[in-house]
């Protein structure tokens, strides 16, 4: 699970509040979709969860572990996919996956089974022995996704994971997300694709100007206004204020 308690983060000596007193929790077995306009604070929130940024105040628990007090333990149960797949271009795909397997301590048998499976699903079997610098943007996105899946983490945090994926891969990605949570894992992801959020998420949070302006199941969000509203309309109404 992921728990954010009164988390704030600002830039430029407090002049720009990227995340403002954010409190939310994502339960085990839940896919949580995080929506918001550009610059609303989605990526900042995600980076705070995975420990790439330090909050000005508040606490973040990942699987019950405080990610500032015990960062290594929090990282052991978490994997992360950034919005831009900047990965070691001079390594081959397999070397990169081996590196991730080594630092997360994935046993060889599990590693082989998972790598073979995900390479097949994401159609990277032929490219895995080539340097990552020869990969297209979508292929890089896939190798980062496979790396995030390799340790079979309890918590996955994904920033715009569908960007750059072809339709087939995006489909497999969504299936993977569902399976991960059906097995009790927690998944937190940001997206701009309302349709994906609508169909996939157990709960949705909408952030605007650093503040969480709405969260809940799709039905709960609809109940705030008219019941037949699409998520897109709810989003547009909430974020134009």
């Amino acid at each position: 699970m992921i728990e954010l308690n009164h988390v704030s983060k600002s830039y430029n000596k407090g002049r720009v509040k990227a995340v403002d007193d954010l409190t939310l929790s994502v339960r085990p077995g839940e896919i949580f979709g995080f929506l918001g306009p550009n610059g609303a604070g989605k990526t900042t929130t995600i980076k705070l969860i995975v420990g790439l940024l330090r909050p000005d105040s508040g606490t973040i628990l990942v699987d019950g572990i405080d990610n500032r007090k015990n960062p290594v333990a929090a990282k052991t149960v978490t994997t992360y996919v950034p919005d831009t797949p900047a990965v070691y271009e001079r390594l081959t795909g397999l070397e990169y996956l081996n590196f991730i397997g080594d630092v997360y301590g994935v046993p060889k048998a599990d590693r082989l089974r998972r790598i073979e499976r995900w390479l097949e699903i994401f159609e990277l079997s032929e490219a895995v022995s080539a340097p990552i610098q020869s990969y297209s943007h979508g292929m890089r996105q896939k190798i980062v996704l496979i790396a995030a899946l390799l340790p079979a983490p309890r918590v996955m945090v994904l920033d715009e994971p569908m960007v750059g994926l072809d339709a087939r891969s995006a489909h497999h990605m969504k299936e993977m997300m569902r399976t991960h949570c059906d097995r009790g894992g927690t998944l937190f992801f940001s997206t701009h694709i309302m349709e994906v959020a609508e169909k996939l998420c157990d709960r949705i949070g909408i952030i605007h100007k650093g503040r969480l302006i709405a969260h809940g199941t799709l039905e709960e969000l609809r109940a705030r206004d008219r019941e037949d509203q699409s998520l897109e309309k709810i989003f547009l109404e909430l974020t134009e204020r």
Binding site: G51, L91, V103, Y104, L112, E126, S129, P131
Partner: protein, 562 residues
């Protein structure tokens, strides 16, 4: 024209981080304020070198002026500056024109190819002003002061300096643009970078050898006068690359002649070559550039057995991170050239220079040093240790270890490996590179200089301990202020201020140790005692440096926001 100036402005801002260097930003980011005294110290460290350089110029002027040959000093300074620009220019031009990451963006903009190339050229020119300035500016100024030159000299000197990089850079640029267009190298850019650099290094070395093989005209002042006089070496080389002669004649006109003609020739050729580059850029630049981003790679499906064999059976994180460092360093040409290749080449260059001009048996200087040393084994041990340490540590591997990660640093921050363990793995990698340099230096000292093996082997543990201390120091400097935002790998290592700061810090420590040891020996302490004491002191320094590094890593990995 407006677009060109805007491109140049953006290029300069990106290259020198000008936006971040504004006093407002510097004062806001108090963490960087420590840089101000560090830069001051660096400049103070350079002051003695500048002092001796200026003293040398004054001395030479005094020797040459009575013979009317003092103008050759200017030819020498300008030649040296242009030679430096030529050598560094190849790196700068190739990486700026073809390998910087912003090219994809620039190519898609509605600007002409020549404008893109000229904006890159302008950035390289500014870089080269900085590269050549330590040699050329003191020469121009010292000469002017000595000659009590009038305003014409000073105005001409400014113009000569402004035109200085154009000819060598335009020549290198034309060569590079032509090569990229007509030679099928687009898919082998890494190999091109390495081979090109090695060829240039070999060229520079050959020139040095040629200079040393020139017949000696006798000892002392006579040789110096001969070197600079009519028909001497400076004039001979100047004749091969005449812009420096033209510039000299523009600054110091020959009797009865005006300096305007030579200046117009100097400026005219610069502008003509610049124009040639403009037309070459228009015709060839994009044709050589497009497709360069493509990286060829053989792709084949791995069978289950092959995949199984290639999947690691679970290495410890230290080993995994060490391997990552090794692979990325050795597969990135700029990193490879400044790391492994430089530690292998530096001892070789030192030794070759020491031996050059002696017909293979060791130069007079080497022989004299060895002769003196045979009477003073402690000096050989300490001298060898110093030589080996310099060979092992005179590279940017340790002081760019975090910076080299660049935009990939987020991965080091999210993996569940404690930062101290990551720093340990990085230390081992940097130390291995230093160790390689020390090993080559050891072999070179024994085999080529023919120093006594027992002395060199006694120096080895001292050098290894010193290298451990300096490796930790270099890493600490880089960890305090890692340069993670770069578009060209050259910035992470060759143009990284941390590498320069570490270089000065290393030099400072080595000088302080040399002074300390000399004082102790002069005061009559036993030689063996001083050597053992030095080794113990270095071990303490290395141990505490390493401990500090690990502690600092634990703190800094959490503080650095990416």
């Amino acid at each position: 024209m407006k677009k060109l100036f805007r491109l140049i402005r953006v290029g300069l801002r990106v290259n020198f981080g000008l936006s971040l260097l504004r006093p407002k930003h510097l004062l806001e980011n108090k963490r960087d304020l420590w840089l101000i005294p560090m830069i001051g110290l660096g400049i103070a460290g350079l002051a003695p070198v500048l002092f001796f350089y200026l003293k040398g110029i004054r001395f030479m002027y005094g020797l040459l002026a009575p013979l009317g040959q003092q103008g050759a000093l200017l030819t020498f300074g300008l030649l040296a500056g242009q030679f430096l620009i030529l050598v560094f220019g190849f790196y700068y031009v190739l990486s700026a024109f073809y390998f910087s990451r912003d090219l994809d963006l620039l190519v898609s903009l509605p600007v002409a190819p020549a404008q893109v190339l000229l904006s890159k050229f302008a950035v390289v020119v500014v870089n080269e002003y900085l590269t050549a300035s330590p040699i050329v500016i003191p020469m121009l100024v010292a000469y002017g002061v000595q000659a009590k030159a009038g305003s014409t000299y000073w105005i001409t000197a400014v113009l000569v300096y402004l035109f200085l990089p154009i000819i060598p850079l335009a020549l290198v640029s034309l060569l590079v643009v032509g090569m990229m267009r007509f030679v099928n190298v687009s898919r082998k850019k890494d190999a091109l970078m390495i081979i090109g650099s090695l060829v240039l290094m070999a060229g520079a070395l050959s020139l040095q050898f040629w200079l040393r093989k020139m017949p000696d005209s006798g000892p002392g002042h006579q040789a110096l006068i001969q070197f600079f006089s009519e028909g001497g070496l400076v004039r001979k080389i100047g004749a091969m690359f005449p812009p420096s002669i033209w510039a000299t004649r523009a600054l110091v006109p020959e009797a009865g002649a005006s300096g305007l003609g030579p200046f117009l020739l100097y400026a005219g050729v610069s502008l003509a070559l610049f124009a040639a580059l403009f037309f070459a850029a228009r015709a060839f630049f994009y044709r050589g550039l497009l497709g360069l981003g493509e990286v060829s790679a053989r792709r084949r499906r791995l069978s289950h057995d092959v995949l199984s064999a290639r999947i690691s059976s679970g290495q410890k994180p230290v080993r995994a991170i060490f391997l990552r460092e090794l692979r990325i360093m050795n597969r990135t040409p700029i990193f490879l050239l400044n790391g492994v290749l430089s530690v292998v080449l530096i001892p070789v260059i030192f030794i070759l220079f020491a031996k050059a001009g002696s017909g293979g048996g060791g130069s007079d200087t080497t022989q004299i040093i060895l002769l003196l040393a045979s009477a003073n084994p402690a000096a050989v041990i300490l001298g060898s240790a110093m030589f080996m340490t310099i060979c092992g540590c005179l590279n940017g591997t340790a002081s760019s270890t975090f910076s080299r990660e660049g935009s990939h640093f987020w991965m080091s921050q999210i993996i569940p490996t404690p930062p101290a363990i990551q720093a340990k793995a990085k230390f081992l990698h940097s130390y291995a590179v230093s160790g390689l340099g020390i090993l080559v230096a050891t072999i070179a000292a024994i085999v080529v200089i023919k120093a006594k093996a027992v002395h060199v082997l006694l120096a080895l543990p001292i050098a290894l301990t010193a290298a451990a201390a300096l490796t930790a120091l270099g890493m600490i400097i880089d960890l305090l202020r890692p340069l993670l935002k770069w578009t060209n790998p050259q910035k992470a290592i060759k143009q990284n201020l941390n590498v320069l700061i570490a270089f000065f810090a290393d030099a400072g420590i080595l000088v302080a140790l040399t002074v300390g040891v000399s004082v102790l020996l002069r005061r009559g302490f036993s030689k063996a005692g001083v050597i053992v004491g030095l080794a113990i002191f270095l071990a303490v320094l290395a141990g505490s440096g390493y401990a500090l590094l690990l502690k600092l890593a634990a703190r800094r990995y959490g503080e650095i926001e990416t």
